[in-house]
Amino acid sequence: MSQAQKSFIADVVKNYGKARHRLMDIALDVQAQYACISDESAKIMADELGIPFVEVIDMVSFYYFLSREPKGKSIVRLSNSVVDKMSGMEAVAKAFEDAVGIPFGSTTSDGAITLEYTSDIGMCDQAPAALVNGMVMTKLCPEDVPGIVDSLKKGKPPGAVAKDEARPDAQVDLNLIQQGPVIFAPVERGVALRAAVNKSPEEVIEEVTKSGLRGRGGAGFPTGMKLNFCRKAKGAEHFVICNADEGEPGTFKDRVVLTEVPDLLFEGMTIAGYAIGAREGLVYLRGEYDYLRGYLEKVLSRRRHLGLLGENIAGKEGFNFDIRIQMGAGAYVCGEESSLIESLEGKRGAPRDRPPFPVTKGYMNQPSSVNNVETLCCVSRIMEKGADWFKSMGTKDSTGTKLLSVSGDCKHPGVYEVEFGIVVDEFLKLVGAEDAQAIQIGGPSGNCIAPKDFGRKICFEDIPTGGSMIVFGEKRDMLQVVREFTEFFIEESCGWCAPCRVGPTLLLRMLDKVIEGRGTKADLKELENLGSTIKTMSRCGLGQTAANPVLTTLQNLPEIYRSKIGKEEFVPSFQIDKALAEGIGIAGREPVWEEEL
C-alpha cells in the first residue's frame, strides 16, 4: 500500500476523533477519494481504529452505496421501483445500455461509467428518476439519455446545474400540491422553541401527550408517551434521533419537508431534546438525499448563528443542544428504528431484539427517542399553537394532519397535507384518480386495497399509513405489481434472520408459478401459509411485512389470482422440459423416451 493512501486514511480517521461509531463517515470519505473501499483501505481503517479487519468488511459489505470493488468514475443509479417502471423506466434503461454499451449491473472496461439499478429514491412523483453521480435527475425519457451519457464521458455534470444558493442543488420538482395548517403553514424560526423553553420539560411532554400526536412513520406510537419513557430512562446521555430515511417505495414527503420547512423539523428536534434532556440530536438522512445535505447544513448553521442551537438556546440558561446529520448509504432496512441506530453507530444496519427498546437503550446504549421527520414537525407546531388546536383536526384517535406522498396512475402526483380521517374515495377525487382499480396504502409493507374498501378512512383506527399512496389504474397487471414488491423485499432483506432472508425468494417462486398459469388452489393456500410464516417469525418490521404484497392482495384482490388458476388439483413446480433444456442444447438432440423405443 502506498504511503499516501495510508496517511490520507489515517487523517480521515483522525478527523472523526478515531471514533469507532463514525465508521460510516470514514468509509464514505475513503470511498470518495479512492472510488471504493479496497481491502487495503479497509485494513488501514481497521488498524487506525484498532478494530478487526472483518468488522470493517462486515459494515462496508452491507450498504449498496459502499463498494469494495472499484466502480466507474461516473455512476448511474436508475431507480427501479414499481412507479418508475409504470412511467417508462425500462425504455430509459435500454437507452442507457445502448448509449454506454454495457448492461445494467456492470462497469465499462475503461472504468468510466457504471450502470446499476437502485430501489426507490424518493422521486415517484416525477418518475422515472435516477441518481447520476449522486445528483437527482427526474422525469427521464429515452431521448435525454445520449446527452447525459455524452456529458459523463466528457467528465461534465450531466444536467444543467441550478445555482440558487438558498435551494438544494438538484433538478427536483417540489410537487407540494396541498398545503395544510400543521406542516406547511408559514414557519417563524424560534417561536415554537421559545414557547417550549418557557415551560418545564414535563409540561412540554404533557402538552404533546394532550395533543394525541402519534408517530407518523406508520406504527402510530403515542409521541408524548415515547418522550416520557425516554426522559425517565436512566442514562449518562439522552439522544433525539430523527428518522429521515424514508425508503418505503412511493414515499417522498420528507423530501418536501426537508426542502420547504427544515426549520420546523430542527425546531421540533430541539424541543424534543429539551423535553427528554438531550444534548445531541442526530438526523439520519438517507443516502439518496445526499443532494439535500449541504442545504440542510446551511440551515443548521444559520440556527446556530441565531442562538437556536448551541449553548443556552433561546435564552434558556443551561439548555445546550446541537444537531448532526448522519448520512445513510442505501439500505431500506435502516428505516427500522433499531437498524437505524446500529447504522448510526457505524455498523451494518441489522435490527436489534426488543426489549430493550431504544427509549431505554438506544444509540450508544443510551435512552434515545427515534421519531419520524413529520412527527417532530408536529411537535414544533403543537408548541406554537397548542394541543387543543392540534386536536381539533383529524379523528379521535388520529389527531392532526397527515402528509401523503401520492404517485402512480393519477392526474396530480405529489405531496398532500390532509386531515386524518379522509375517506379513500374523497382522496382519489382530490388526486384525480377516480378510475383506480387498487391503491397501495403505506407502500409495499402496507395494504393493497380494492374499490370495495374505498369507503374506508385513512387514520390509525381504520387504514393506517406512513404516507406512501400508490394508485393503480384499471389497466395495470396487479400480479406484476405484487411480483415487483416481493422482489423489492428480497433485495432489501438484511439477511440477519432466516424467515426474511429466505422466505420472500420462495414466495416469488410460488408466485411465478401462478403468473405462468401453472398454479392451483393448493398453491394459493401455500402462498398464504408461507406468507404467514414470514410475517409471524421474522425479527423486525421489514420481515414481518415482506409478505404483505402477497397477503393483502390475496385478501383484497382475490380475482387476480383466481383468474390464473386452472382446474387441476396438482401441478408440480418441477418442469422436466425446462430442466432438460440445457442438456438438450448441449447434446444437440432430443431425448429418446422409453415408449418410443
Partner: protein, 237 residues
C-alpha cells in the same frame, strides 16, 4: 410471589423464575424445551434463526432474549408454532446445499436433529442451489459455507469467548455469508482448532479436520435421543 420470584405460564405449566431471566433460560431450568438453533448457552443471544419464536401474551417473539415478567402467558409446544418452526428449518435446508447422508456432522447436527424432531421428512420448498465455495485452506479446520445457516455462533464465539474476531458477516440478504478476518482465506487468520469458534457450529459448516468419524454413524448424540431430550430430562428427575 415470595423471594422476589415470579411465575410465567408456558403451555399451562407454571414456571417460577427470577424476573428478567430470558424465557428460554427459565424454561430450560424448568425442563421445558423450546426448539432453538442459533442459541448457545455460552453466547450472547442474537436472534438469527427465529426457531425459538414463541407467543407471549399472543404476540410472537423470540424466547432467547425476551425477559420474563410476572404472569406472562407463553405458547411454545403448539401445533401452530411447531409448524412455523418446521417451515424455517425447511427454508434453511433449501437455502444451502446440504449433504446429510455423507456429512461429517450427521447425527451430531442440530439442524438435522431439529428437522427430525419437528417432523420434517424432506423440504417441501424448492431448492435454491446457491453456488458457494469451500475454504479448506486452514490446516486444522475447514469452513464449508454450503452448510452454513448463518446462525452467527462462530462470530460471537470468536469475538466474545476466544477474543479473536476470526469471523464476521459479509453482504446482506441471500448473499450474506460468513466472512473471515483476512483478505482471502481462513488459513490467514488466528483461528486454532482448540478455539470455541471451531467447535461451536451447529451444522457441518465449520468442522475440525481429522475428527469427523471417530464416532460412527448411528452412535452419535442425536441418533440416540431427539434434540432437547437433555433439557426435558430435568422435568422428569
Amino acid at each position: 410471589m415470595s423471594n422476589g420470584k415470579i411465575t410465567i405460564y408456558v403451555d399451562d405449566v407454571e414456571v417460577t423464575t427470577e424476573p428478567g431471566t430470558a424465557i428460554m433460560e427459565a424454561c430450560d431450568e424448568a425442563g421445558i424445551y423450546i426448539p432453538r438453533l442459533c442459541y448457545h448457552k455460552d453466547l450472547i443471544p442474537a436472534g438469527h434463526c427465529r426457531v425459538c419464536t414463541i407467543k407471549v401474551n399472543g404476540k410472537p417473539t423470540n424466547a432467547c432474549t425476551f425477559p420474563t415478567q410476572e404472569g406472562l402467558v407463553v405458547e411454545n409446544n403448539t401445533e401452530e408454532m411447531n409448524e412455523f418452526r418446521r417451515h424455517i428449518i425447511e427454508m434453511l435446508f433449501v437455502e444451502g446445499n446440504h449433504i446429510c447422508p455423507y456429512c461429517e456432522k450427521q447425527g451430531n447436527c442440530e439442524l438435522q436433529a431439529l428437522a427430525y424432531r419437528l417432523g420434517m421428512t424432506a423440504p417441501t420448498y424448492p431448492y435454491l442451489y446457491p453456488k458457494i465455495e469451500v475454504d479448506a485452506s486452514h490446516p486444522d479446520v475447514y469452513i464449508d459455507r454450503n452448510r452454513c445457516v448463518l446462525c452467527g455462533r462462530c462470530v460471537r464465539a470468536s469475538r466474545d469467548l476466544d477474543g479473536k474476531s476470526v469471523f464476521g458477516f459479509d453482504g446482506r440478504g441471500r448473499q450474506k455469508r460468513i466472512a473471515v478476518n483476512a483478505e482471502h482465506t481462513l488459513s490467514e487468520t488466528q483461528l486454532a482448532a482448540a478455539d470455541r469458534a471451531a467447535e461451536i457450529c451447529p451444522t457441518g459448516s465449520i468442522v475440525i479436520k481429522r475428527t469427523a468419524y471417530s464416532v460412527p454413524y448411528g452412535k452419535r448424540l442425536y441418533d440416540k435421543e431427539p434434540i432437547g431430550s437433555d433439557i426435558e430430562q430435568k422435568a422428569k428427575s
